[in-house]
Amino acid sequence: MGAQCHERQRLMPVNESTLAPLVFDQLQQAMAGDPAGFTELYHDYLADAWQALRTLGDAVRQQQAEEVRAKAHHLKGSSMVLGARAVAQCASALEEMGRSADIRTAGAMLEQTRLALLAVQAELSTRLGVGVLPANDTAA
């Protein structure tokens, strides 16, 4: 599977608005000796991100601004490091809402975050195959 993924990468440039190509490519290059580990890294990211999104949804519904701040910060960190910039930007906005204890519009931002994460997941699935997808109960 790894060789197929590398072949796909050469043919299809990363969608820049979804996943920072420099980050993805350099990480993939750094882990060239462990393609399964590379896929697992992004698999774990997606699973963690969907879990974070669910927790954020609960926190928004229960008006827990501090929980929104903390969980959004968590999601922002991994999204930044792994190049999921749109997700990171949404998470950053949610973090700021939580910090200012004003989460009235957090629901809409949460939906934007979900769409951004779906786009990242689709891009990763194309690039790395279905092995990158988290279990059924985690996504969307």
Partner: protein, 224 residues
């Protein structure tokens, strides 16, 4: 060119971040990741036991936050050089981190691009900010100090007492409140107000409050 193996300790509470950083750094043959910490306490413990050359320190960690861990690292006399990793940082925090002994600040969305280079620069004795080595640390500190120091309060020729009156007006105090607070008569307060209006060219309390806000006439307050 760097030639010695750099021993690095990663401290971040997010497992995905730690794995990403570790794999990325291990691609550099001159870097050896010697440990990973999940919070500030573990970071300090591992720094003391492993004596890494470099500590990659997330600022927002549970138990002991990054800035506090940095303070303890410095006061504990460890030789480890600290690189702060963060999602977002303002000038005040950069200045504080540098004052506490940090050698570099790297944003998390730039780690793949810069971190390895930053580590080698720091090992060569350089400081690193905004994606490049710092050429003149004194100038950087001076600039950061200027940026984080609030501008001096303007007075527009008002006396100290008149400035105090302006502050209370913007807080919504009545003449009676002000008179009571300063132990003066309401007539005296009115005289102060007349003088203030004349000096600033405003016609009423609302205009005065807006003028004060727009012209930095109020005393500095603590930031967040």
């Amino acid at each position: 060119m760097p030639s010695t193996l750099v021993r690095v300790l990663i401290a971040d509470d997010h497992p995905v971040v730690r794995v990403g950083l570790r794999n990325m750094l291990q691609a550099d043959p001159l870097i050896n990741v010697v440990g990973e910490a999940r919070d500030g306490v573990e970071a300090l413990d591992l720094a003391r036991s492993l004596h890494p050359d470099i500590l990659l320190l997330d600022l927002a960690m549970p138990n002991v936050a990054g800035m506090e861990a940095l303070r303890e690292m410095t006061s504990g006399g460890l030789n480890t050089r600290t690189i702060v990793l963060t999602g977002l940082i303002d000038n005040r925090q950069i200045l504080e981190a540098l004052q506490l002994g940090a050698r570099a600040v790297v944003l998390k969305d730039a780690v793949v691009e810069h971190l390895s280079e930053c580590i080698h620069a720091v090992m060569q004795g350089q400081y690193w900010l905004e994606g490049r080595p710092v050429q003149n640390l004194v100038q950087v500190l001076r600039d950061l100090t200027v940026k984080t120091t609030p501008p001096p309060r303007k007075t527009f020729g008002l006396t100290a007492r008149e400035l105090e009156v302006v502050t209370l007006i913007t807080e919504g105090c009545t003449n009676k409140d002000i008179a009571r607070q300063f132990g003066i008569s309401e007539e005296t307060v009115k005289r102060h107000l007349t003088n203030i209006f004349n000096k600033l060219g405003v016609g009423n309390r609302l205009e005065l409050a807006l003028f004060a806000l727009n012209h930095n006439l109020l005393p500095a307050t603590e930031g967040k």
